[in-house]
Every structure is written in C-alpha cells, then in structure tokens.
C-alpha cells in the first residue's frame, strides 16, 4: 500500500478508472503527457509498454509521432534530436537495452535535455536472464539521470506524468528515469485511476525542452563544441557545465517535492516525493526499501508491530539525486537499520542502496549499525517471510557484530 489519501482534490473533471498492468499504466501516463515523439524498441519486460503506446498512436488516441528505430542506441539519439528541436519525448527500456543505449544515454543529462524514459528494471546479464531486478538502474545511478522508483501501478501512472513537470522545470532541465520493477509491476494488474486529460494538460503546461540548448535555425548555435584540455578556458568551461548539472540535480530535490505536493492537491493522491516514512516515528529500528518490494515490507512491518516490535520503514522514492536531508531526518529517528537492495554493488560487497544509506548515516552524526540485505534478484519474490527475517536480524544489529557480508535473502529459497 502506498500513502494515498483521497480527501482533497482540486481537479475539476472526474477521473476514469481502468484495470491494467504497470506497463500499460505507464503508457497511459505517457499518453496524458502528450509527447511529440515516442521512440520504441522492444525488450523484455518493457515490450508491452511500447506496444501499448504504438497501439495508442495507431488508434489515434495519442497524437504523437512514432519512431520505429533499429535499437535502443538509435532510440535515445533520435529523441535527443527531437528534444533539441523542441519536442517532448518518451521511451522506455531496460537491462541490455539500456546498456546498448549507454553512449547517448550518458550524454543526455549533460545536454540538459528534459526527457522522460521508463526503466522497467531488469537484472543484468550474465547469467542470461530476462527477469526483474534493479541492477540495470543501479549501474547507471551515476549517469546523471534522475531516478524515481515506483511502488505501485498507480504510482507508475502518476509519476510518469509528474516526471515531465519535474524534468522540464527550469531549475532542473535533466532527464528522468521513472523506474518500475520488471515482472512484479510491469505485468502486475490492478485498478488504477486515470486523471482527466484536461486536468493533466493544465498541470503540465506546454513543453519547452530547448529554450536553453537548441538545434533551431531561428536560434543558431553550436551544440556541444569541443572544450579544450590542459588548463585554462577548456576545463574552466567544463567545470561550469558540471557544476550546473550537479546544481540541477540538487534543485530537483525541491522540485520533486513541489510537484508531488501539487499533484496531490490537484488529484488527491499524495505520493511521498523523496523518502516515505512508514510507522517510523516511534520505531527503534527500521528497514530501508526501494520499489515494489515495499508493499510486502510494509505488511511485514505491520505484522511485527502487531507482535510489539518497534520497527518502522523508510522507502526511497527518489534515489537520484540522493535525498540526503530527508534520509538523515528519517534515520535520525532510529537506532538500527537494515537496508534491502534488489541489486549488488560489486565494489563494496553489499547493496548500492545500503552503501548510500551508510553515507547518509554519517550525516546524522551517529554511528547507526546497519545490515545489508540483498534480495529479489532475477525476478525472485521478496516475501513477507523474507522481510520478517530481515526485521529480526536488524533488531539484533550491533556494532562489532555486523557481518562484512550482505545477507542474500533468496539464497536458500
């Protein structure tokens, strides 16, 4: 369950309701944002998303141009062209597709192009695998894209629309990956509320993707000329651009909060923008989760609470930029932490979210004992039982007794 309150809404028109899978919810969200061009190349488990979009365009339900290209690399390149010419774009990919897209993908944030792309997260090869997992998204966590991880099918739809408003905000101008877990969310079917188009139009406003950098004969400029090396003007320019990019990321923390608040106000659904605290205020210890696993984790917390455990939960919605302030505020409330990752940091022998959480703990000024759990690789379920085990282990976390190894939740399934 996500934190939704249906108390106040300012939307003038009535929403409609559909029952659909996560990929279709994403497609509906894209449709509401009215992109100019959608570029598609299929890959499991993203395929149904672009199929839905193609059908919407074929049916005339979405007045976008469809770019059928020969691979994910071309997807990103074509959309860069569209964005530089002033268009709003969308695409979706995952896993090996993302790896193939990598060259233009890493360039997009530097160009400050406010693109929105779904990452239907998938574990990376090898071993050969077509199932969910967040390794793909975690590999690109330092590529400069904003990453928001969805917990529910409804949140996919809502976040996809919100992503455009965040990305195109003048203080941000950065691309966003709206991540939802392959399999569990991509194909999970639920009832979702679809906001009215006119409301969304008013919420988003018209696109303006290239006011700052354009390939437009009316505003001729050299886009991305070479910067010199070895000191002087070249590196100085380069630093200026990099600092701007980093500042855009930090601005995004504020903008994401504002946009989520505005969304809630208009449509009555308040999603936690950066970090969600669940039963945390009186907790002694807590789990940190990300993505769709959070639903099962909350159930496990509830069960533990029923047993008298003072346990809470911290869910990461926005992982990049890292919500340091919100995370520190949450961590400050507890004495022990267990972090559940759906991917691996090969360098640190733990999960990447765990690693970042350690960084945040440093900023609390306290040495909070923390354990790294890794689960859900290759599409595995992280069940309530797995979380119960994680809760139990976290309760016992103490300095000097924490293993240097992560706990592999599905190791003995």
């Amino acid at each position: 369950m996500t934190a939704v309150t249906d108390t106040s809404r300012s939307a003038s028109n009535k929403p409609s309701f559909v029952v659909c899978e996560g990929n279709e919810a994403a497609a509906i969200g894209v449709g509401l944002a009215r992109p100019d061009v959608v570029a598609v190349y299929p890959i499991t488990p993203q395929s149904s998303l672009v199929e839905h979009l193609s059908q919407m365009i074929a049916d005339g339900r979405l007045q976008a141009d469809l770019m059928n290209v020969e691979g994910e690399h071309a997807v990103m390149c074509g959309l860069q062209g569209v964005a530089l010419a002033g268009g709003r774009t969308f695409t979706a990919t995952c896993g090996p597709g993302l790896a193939f897209m990598f060259e233009p993908y890493v360039r997009t944030p530097g160009l400050r192009l406010p693109m929105v792309a779904s990452l239907v997260t998938r574990d990376l090869l090898t071993p050969q695998c077509v199932w969910g997992g967040q390794q793909d998204a975690m590999v690109v966590r330092e590529a400069g894209w904003i990453q928001m991880y969805c917990e529910t099918v409804q949140e996919i739809l809502d976040s996809t629309v919100m992503a455009y408003k965040i990305a195109e905000h003048r203080d941000v101008m950065l691309p966003i990956n709206v991540c939802h877990d392959g399999n569990y969310l991509s194909f999970g079917v639920t009832r979702v509320e679809v906001p009215d188009q006119q409301d969304v139009d008013e919420f988003l406003g018209p696109p303006n993707t290239n006011w700052h950098i354009a390939l437009d004969p009316l505003r001729p400029m050299g886009v991305d000329p070479l910067t010199g090396g070895a000191g002087g003007a070249g590196p100085r320019n380069f630093v200026r651009y990099r600092k701007g990019q980093v500042r855009g990321m930090q601005n995004a923390l504020r903008v994401i909060r504002e946009v989520h608040a505005a969304w809630g106000e208009r449509f009555g659904r308040y999603h936690a923008p950066l970090v969600e605290e669940y039963r945390l205020d009186d907790a002694d210890y807590a789990l940190v989760t990300i993505g769709s696993m959070t639903g099962a984790a909350k159930d496990a917390i509830d069960i533990a609470r029923d047993k008298g455990e003072a346990v809470g939960l911290i869910k990461i919605k926005t992982f990049r930029p890292f919500p340091l302030e919100a995370m520190v505020a949450a961590l400050a409330k507890v004495k022990r932490i267990g972090v559940v990752d759906r991917s691996v940091s090969f360098g640190w022998n733990c999960g990447p979210l765990y690693q970042d959480t350690l960084g945040a703990i440093y900023h609390t000024g306290r040495a909070i004992p923390a354990i790294s759990f890794i689960g859900g690789l290759a599409g595995a379920d992280i069940t309530v039982e797995h979380f119960a085990r994680a809760i139990a282990l976290t309760r016992e976390a103490e300095w000097g007794r924490i293993s240097s190894e992560p706990v592999w939740l599905n190791e003995n399934d």
């Binding site: 141009d65 059928n68 390149c77 062209g81 268009g87 000329p225 003007a233």
Partner: protein, 450 residues
Amino acid sequence: MGKCFSTLQFHTSRCDGCGDCMTACAQAKANTDDQAYSRIHILPKTAGEVVELALCRQCADPICVMNCPSGALSKNGDTGVIDWAESKCVNCLLCTAGCAYAGIVYEAKVGHVAKCDLCDGDPACVKVCPSEAIEYRTAARIFNAYAGKEDMFCRGLSACHGCNSELLIRHTMRMVGPDSVVAAPPGCIPGMGTVGYNGQTGAKVPIFHSLLTNTATMLAGVKMQYNRVGRDVTAIALAGDGGTSDAGFQSVSGAAERNDPILFICVDNEGYMNTGMQSSGVTPYGSWTSTTPVGGQMQGKRTEAKNLPIIMTMHNCSYVATASTAFLEDYYAKLEKAIKVAKTGMAYLHVHAPCPTGWRFPSGITTEVCRMQVRTNFVALWEYDPENGLRFTHPVDRPEPVADYLKMIGKYRHLSEEQIAHIQRTVDEKITYLRQLTVMAATRHPASVH
C-alpha cells in the same frame, strides 16, 4: 559580387594537334572546311614542344574592347563573350593591338577581324575533339548562383593544408542555406572547428557535435519534430567514413531503411584521418594506415573496402550518389537533387576526399588526386534513385591505369607489382559491376539511357 562566365579550357597534354576543332569552327562560322576560317588556332607542335593555342580568352578586362574606337567590341554581361558588332566595326585593327594571345585577328579571306564567340554556349570545337583536349567549362554558373550566398561557416577553420573537406562543406552549406540543422560526428569536420571550441561556434547554422554512432538517427529526430510543427528545415549530416561505414553504420542503415527525410553526406577520406590515420571499413586494399602498417608480415590493408554507396542503394532510400570535389558541377547537380529529396526521404551523398596529411601526398595536388580517382575509375561518379536505378554521371570509358593514380599517393608507395595488378583488377571488376547496374536500370527505364 562580380559575375563569372563559362569558358573553354584547353589541355595541351591531351591534344594531338589533329585540327578537327578548327574544321568544326570553320564549318560553324563560315560553312566551309577551310581551316583559314577557324577562330580557334591550334599551333602545331615543334620539336620538344607541345601544341599551343591562339584563341580569344574572353578576358574579364578586355584591352581589345578598350582599344576599339567605334564601340564595335563589348563584353557581354550575360555570357561573358566579347561581342563583335560588324555594323560598328571600321576595320582599324586596333583591337588586335590589345590582344596578347591572337584572340582577335584579321581574317584576310573574310576581310575583317574575327574572334571566337563560344557558339552561343555550345562550342562546335568541343563536340568534335576526340581527346577531350578542349572542354567547355560551365562551373561559372555555380559561382554566379552561389558565391553571393552566405558562407555558413566561420573564417579560420583549422583544416589541414590542402584539405578538400573544408571546401566541400563550405560549398555545400552555401547551397543548403540557413534553414538547416547540421550534425557533425567526431572526425575532421568538427575537428577543424566547425562546431566550435570552448563554447564558441564555428558555424552560422545550428550545428551539433553528434556521436560517431548516432548522427543519422538524431537528425531524423530533429527533422521529425520540425515536420511535426510544420517548419521546413533541412537536416544534414557532414560525417566522415568512420561515422558512416563503421560505428555509424547502424544508424545510417536504420535511417535509410526508414527513408528518414535527412541529407547524409559521407566525406570519405578512407579512414580515421583525424585521429592518426587508422584504417576504416572503406580503407582500400593495400593502403598503409597506422593500424594496417607496412612491415615484414603485412603490406598495408589486407582486405577490400566495402562499397558503401552501393550498400546504401540496397536500402532503397530516395537518393544515393557519389561525388568528387574535382567535379564540382556534378556535385552541385547532385546536391541540388539531394536537398530536394531530403524533404521527404533520405538522400545519401558519398564524396571522396583524398587527404594530403593522412595519405601522404603534397597538399597542392589534392584536386589533381581527386581528378585522377575519377579518370582511373578508382572512383566512379554515379547517382541512383529507386525509380530510375543507377546511372553514371561522368562515365570514363577510356580510364587511365590505376597505377598512375596510386603513384601520386604515399600510402601506396610500398605496393608490389602484384598488389597494383590486384587493385587494377578490383577497379575493373567494380566498374563492370556498376555498368551491369546501369544496364539493368536502362532496361527498366529505356528513357534514362545516357
């Protein structure tokens, strides 16, 4: 901006002094075979010398006209011909005193001065010359049409001495004009500063330093968005052969298959000349490059170049053509078509760009090298569209030996006789293959036979 005019060009090295031109001229001007009536004078060879020529040069600043007291001579502002008006001429011969080349002379048989008038733009002498020693050069119309247009690149691009790519892109963008978006993937073209440096641009049109791998696709995206909003913008790639045939090929191929409305120009210098002369997929057999070096075990590149322009025709995209900067009129004609085509479909131009720095030849002979590529059939000039198939635009029926081309260039210096023979064979095979394609096209469309 002054005006340029078509002119006769005489290649003494090709002239055997047969005199057919003089007979043709006499026929055209006096309806006789008597060469005394000719206005072109081929001066026979003397020992150790070459054939010389006495002919009106149609000077820009003609002294014959200045010397004329009767106003009988004038420089025609439309044709550039020095016109002679018989009704005004008083036969004073002062015009002959103004000409250092015997371009206007007294013809005793006709009783007045006579001079070449270029046969109203269709010179009789050119048509009969069996050895192409006299050519009618019409490139002036390019100058007249385009010299006044704005150069879309800034001054001071830092191309190597003798580089024809700079010439090519300046010519190209003059015609394409300001309503365009240029993508230049890594290579010599951005390397010379077209996209700019340290935040400053090198072009007056929007220009993007695209990736080596994505040029065609990102342009397709640009074009798609402008089509969407109803703006007529030419999306043009100025790419090297690496960004087209190797890492860039998937993108180019995809765009061609989709027939994306872009103009893609591949400037083929047969390798990665910008980064130290490494081999690419279109580097010809036998070439020395820094990754196909010459040593005890290896004598330059061991495999053939892929025939990229032909591969492009196999995509059935709207227009494909090859070009050479030594044949700029041919190029302009193709570019003109390509710009039109690129409004609705993909146009691909493959321009051969010999590189003095990377190929090791003197920077002063680049255009000669270009010319020899064509005269030996090492490079064939043709164009293709799905409707009409392939046709030669400058057929060379009596090619010079490819060895004469290879010996101009340092990267072939090491070639053995066998290697040269091999290259000649592959050139012959390639031209035979192209001829078959033209025959196929002609069979399909008899009207397009050339």
